[in-house]
Symmetry: C2
């Protein structure tokens, strides 16, 4: 059994940016990068906020980092001791990922003796606006200590600075920073309270964009000097009296004291684990990686609101514009559906609430219905640019088509809503706007349908499927099947809504001609062309003409690179005219619709596409892993599962694209690891409305034990090799 601690021993300057992600703590409202209190923006510290964005000029619009209320460093005998500049004797960081507490422990040599600094901090899971830190200093010789601690408003931004104005103030022993954003003049208020077990000389100064307490005292050898910081964050989007709330919160926290609030915080985490922990007997590393992945999903789950989604890099920073991708519905949703359906509902509510944005996007292209944003920010605004890649050879932006051609995004929303309906048994989301979303997505696809004048089949042309290396293709199997699924769902909800409630019936009937829509969607579902397995090979072509592309090995393709950073996709990318794909595409479709295909087809396509897949996206490995389980190949699934589960632990992913930081956490990988474990190895699925398990454990696993919530009840699942036991533990209370 592992100890729920992730360590790093020694100070490794090259790991600063990765560790920001690996040691992240968060509570869904905010995420605090795993940086040290003394870091300034060159080391990428960030308290990244969920769902609030700003744009400066024509640069990318991105979420805000709050002024850093954790900022702290010390001097001993007038000499500062801080990383990364002052190299230590010893240093270690540790993340308790069962409770979301980050520890640091550093020893410097002052020449006369050793200075030890310890800190621990967390973003309260109980009180989402609160951060708390305990900081200790100890020297083995007497000396003069000066603590600099306060709020650093000079935050790291990728496309900032976002705070045109920064108001620094102090009153009543509290210090405050209020940032006012460039575009919308939103306010971000941070308040800090300080408490210590020892007395000191105190002074409050402002230094540029920092407001700092300077605390001086004479330290005796061997004595631990502990102090505490309580930091609150509220924005003007949270409430009108954001600053009063911030003040009140830190006062209350200081009154209650560090031990009390950390206890509630830990209790809240234990509640989460009581449902979501997955126990694996026989593979401690896998169990650690999986629960560490689950930890990250908890850190970013929006629980402070009923309508918000998760960004592709979670709350680890402004990377990928803090935007919501299909990752949420296709890769993260299941974890929340299975362990905390309220969060699943919140995620989907965000999509319902951004339907207008999706309709506006469709309209801007001349389409009807709802075309969801490829990179969704508030209101469903599509932050995706037409030029997402810089050509390494010319340094010119390349026209990419993610925003305009990746139409499968809308079907992912429908898929998410229907999955919520099926797993919870609740129709609340449908009644509360879900039906309109499904109908508008179906209208969108209907408007895109093309028919060859002399054939009675419908097509979807000029799209990008999940595999982004092949742009502007016709009849992508995944996209077409998901569009068909959307038509099927739309027809289904149109047929059922009348029985739900009278008001809804009235509302929808006023909006739509349901008879006509039903007829159209049923016709479309019937006639939309779905690429079928070829007669002998059983291979499903990813899109029209895929079979004619060059069949080259990944190795050979890599050998053709002129620049290791060159883009593989686009019109002339090295992969574009070959069969090499970026990520699971046909395999994603087969995974979702596995029941419609024979075992032979599933297997042959897995075997065909796997060696042709770069797995260049964190969305790829888990799809192959899950399908491998369905093909009774858990041992082939295993390394792909480990890859998904360890993504943020090993931090081997790309950190930089040219000068742009693209590292961060990978919640879709975490979600994919969870799905692989639960739906792949344990084989959880629904059959005729019943929860079933068809286990396929890796050879060296003895058993898996976990719980999932289904239709309001908690079930305990115990899986051993080929046997499964599902026990109903009674009602789940959110």
């Amino acid at each position: 059994m592992k100890d729920w601690i992730i360590w790093e021993n020694g100070f490794h300057i090259e790991n600063i940016s990765q560790n920001g992600n690996k040691f992240l703590v968060g509570n869904g409202y905010l995420g605090i990068r795993g940086t040290l209190p003394e870091y300034e923006k060159s080391e990428f510290p960030a308290i990244n906020l969920a769902g609030i964005y700003d744009q400066v000029g024509v640069a990318w619009r991105e979420p805000l980092n709050a002024p850093n209320g954790l900022y702290t460093y010390i001097e001993f005998n007038n000499k500062p001791y801080r990383l990364p500049g002052d190299l230590p004797l010893n240093h270690r960081m540790a993340l308790d990922y069962r409770h979301g507490i980050l520890y640091r422990d550093t020893v410097w040599d002052s020449g006369d003796g050793k200075i030890k600094v310890k800190s621990e901090r967390f973003a309260s899971l109980e009180e989402k606006h609160l951060i708390a830190m305990k900081y200790s200093i100890c020297s083995d010789v007497d000396g003069e200590v000066r603590i600099h601690t306060g709020i650093d408003g000079d935050v790291w931004d990728i496309n900032g600075p976002h705070y045109d104005e920064l108001i620094l103030s102090d009153s009543d022993q509290l210090i405050q920073a209020v940032g006012i954003t460039h575009k919308n003049k939103d306010k971000v208020g941070v308040c800090e309270a300080y408490d210590a077990s020892f007395s000191s000389q105190k002074q409050i100064i402002t230094l540029g964009r920092k407001i700092l307490r300077v605390l001086s005292f004479h330290a005796k050898a061997g004595v631990n000097y502990d102090f505490y910081k309580y930091i609150s964050v509220y924005t003007s989007k949270d409430c009108l009296n954001y600053i009063d709330n911030a003040i009140e919160l830190v006062k209350k926290a200081k009154e209650e004291g560090y031990e009390t609030i950390i206890e509630s915080h830990i209790a809240e985490w234990e509640t989460k684990w009581s449902i979501s922990e997955v126990i694996i007997d026989g593979d401690d590393s896998a169990m650690e990686a999986l629960n560490y992945s689950i930890y990250h999903l908890h850190c970013i789950a929006p629980r402070h609101t009923d309508s918000l989604s998760i960004a592709a890099r979670g709350l680890s920073g402004q990377m990928y514009k803090g935007a919501v991708f299909w990752d949420t519905e296709m890769f993260m949703l299941d974890f929340f559906l299975f362990t905390e359906p309220t969060v699943a509902k919140t995620l989907l509510k965000y999509r319902i609430d951004t339907l207008e944005g999706a309709k506006r996007k469709a309209q801007s292209y001349g389409y009807q219905g709802a075309f969801y944003a490829w990179e969704s920010q508030e209101g469903g605004y599509d932050a995706c640019s037409d030029y997402n890649v810089i050509d390494v050879f010319t340094k010119r932006p390349m026209r990419t088509y993610f925003k305009d051609k990746q139409i499968h995004i809308s079907s992912a929303i429908v898929y998410g809503i229907m999955r919520y309906v099926n797993y919870t048994g609740n129709l609340d989301l449908l009644a509360d706007g879900g039906i309109e979303v499904i109908i508008e997505c179906a209208r969108f696809y209907y408007d895109l349908l093309l028919k060859k004048v002399d054939k009675d089949r419908y097509e979807l042309n000029d799209v990008i499927g999940p595999d982004e290396y092949h742009e502007r293709v016709n009849n992508n199997a995944y996209t077409n099947r998901m569009a068909k699924y959307t038509f099927e769902c739309a027809a289904h909800v149109i047929k059922m809504y009348r029985h739900m409630n009278k008001d809804l019936d009235d509302k929808l009937s006023a909006q739509y001609n349901m008879t006509v829509l039903l007829e159209r969607f049923e016709d479309a579902a019937l006639k939309l062309y779905i690429p079928q397995p070829e007669d002998t090979s059983k291979i499903i072509r990813q899109f029209d003409g895929y079979e004619q592309l060059e069949d080259v090995s990944l190795k050979e393709l890599k050998g053709r690179l002129l620049d290791e950073k060159e883009y593989w996709g686009g019109a002339y990318g090295l992969a574009s005219h070959t069969k090499i794909i970026k990520q699971a595409d046909v395999v994603t479709m087969l995974n979702i619709f596995s029941g419609e295909y024979s075992d032979e087809i599933l297997l042959k396509n897995w075997e065909y596409y796997e060696p042709r897949t770069e797995h260049g996206s964190s969305l790829s490995a888990c799809m192959y892993a899950m399908l491998a389980c369905k093909c009774n190949m858990p041992d082939k699934a295993y390394p792909l599962f480990i890859k998904s589960a360890s993504t943020d632990l090993v931090q081997k992913g790309k950190q930089w694209a040219g000068l742009i930081y693209i590292g961060g956490t990978h919640p879709a990988s975490s979600g994919g690891a969870y799905m692989t474990a639960v739906e792949g190895f344990a084989g959880i699925c629904l059959e005729d409305g019943k929860l079933k398990a068809y286990p396929n454990l890796p050879r060296h696993w003895n058993s898996m034990i976990f719980k999932i919530i289904y239709r309001g009840d908690i079930y305990k699942i115990e899986v051993t090799k080929k046997l499964a036991k599902i026990s109903n533990l009674g009602k789940y209370k959110a």
Copy 2:
């Protein structure tokens, strides 16, 4: 009045490759580049043959250059005198473009005195397999002359060498070279006979790939020593006994003598000019440029066969693979229709005879009907590669879509056939396969039609229009209108064919269900979407979304170039995401269908598109010039006309693309210049089956006089400013 001579005085080594084109002589069977007899392959001499091709390895397939029977140089007192190595005292070249005779006149200083060499040569317009040259040597001091003359089999090739075997022989005072091609083992036979007015010591030697006569004699000061060469070219594709024919021909020529054969040659040219000369009063330069353009069209007109077309670079070499483009039907056809309808018929017969190739091409893409080759060689084989451009930055081939997406090519064939029918009044081409071509082209477009499921209109998506800088666009106005035209023509011929003759009726009825086809084509013509002028601006969008592209000036665009050779088109080309276009596109459509649009629409679109056009193709200027005439702006047409007419005269066009020679003559420009003069300035058109003229002469032109053939009669057209006189001169005899 100009003297019908194009001069170059002095020897300019940098002009060698251009002069090869500028001083070309030809007779439709072969074209002889305007090089000097002593040139070897580094100076690009070529006797380029029409309609016979070879391919070596995977290099581009290209037409053949015959072994060079003109090869000749002299020595005086054991020292050779030849260009470009031995710089002369004086040198000039002159092309009599009324009669297709090239003169050279060079004087060297031997130290003791001057050596003069003169030559004249022509490709007989009367006997297409015959070339003749007269060569004179004169020295102003006595000396020993040695003439080296014979056949140089070491020909210049772009993607050769094509002759795997070269058989050199001599017998009966004749020398011969037979080249056997690499792929098809075709034979190219060249025979040479020599005649002189003086006696000399004779020897025949072979030297590598050359077979040479070495003629030595003592030359007296001031005496002209003349000799003659008669060279015949026959290939195994012309006849079985190609070598016997070649021998017989040179024997006969030698017997008749140089003066006799040059007389017949000149007489033949005079016959051509008696119909085709255009007289312009008030602008000698324009008249010279125009008639020089007409000269080039005569040089490449296939008159030795009844089924052959013209390559994009005529007979000036292997550039552009010697392939036939839409240039022929859209830019050259009118000249032949108006002055020599038999040639027009031959050009179109080539398309009828290559219908099978066009059907095969369609089939290879999964389409029905006839998809004509973008770069057509024999049998309709499409020589166009999928990778036509090399990226200057990566040196990698770029995937281009000329071959697969430039579907408008098929409509050009239909356009040509119908134009032939309308101008000649003959239905022979229709009966002789033309109807099948039209129907198959219509079937091709019909198969490509897409219909939005919820709209009753048809579309053509993912095409390239005439403007090649914007790839893979939807609803290109030109393409859609030409497809509609094809449907209209197909419906028209289906309705008329039954009345033509019984055999034809039987043949077609056996092949097609004409009732169904008629219904389909009429439906398609009705419903195919044609982009309409916008309400206020009156601008017709070149394709869906054109209006959203960046509106940048040509100058600014050029300023963005990182490399002057970089490709402006493709997915990321500098022009691709702007409104800058390569060549006339909407304007070409408006020109063809001007009768369907108001004067205001014609004018506004001309004014909109002209500054946005690079005119980067020789097919562009004339379309703008003709539409300018229709908009009563002859003075705006004038510089564009001069640009078209002078293309080969000034030879400013690109000669090189990287290491590939792309220079040559530009028959589409020549044809465009003719069209601008006759259909633009003189305003010739058909109205209700009658020939009409609506003159719009440039301000400084007093009058134009020319003849055209219409429905079997010759008409003399005399145009003065705004008045036109059309006189019927009686029956035309081909």
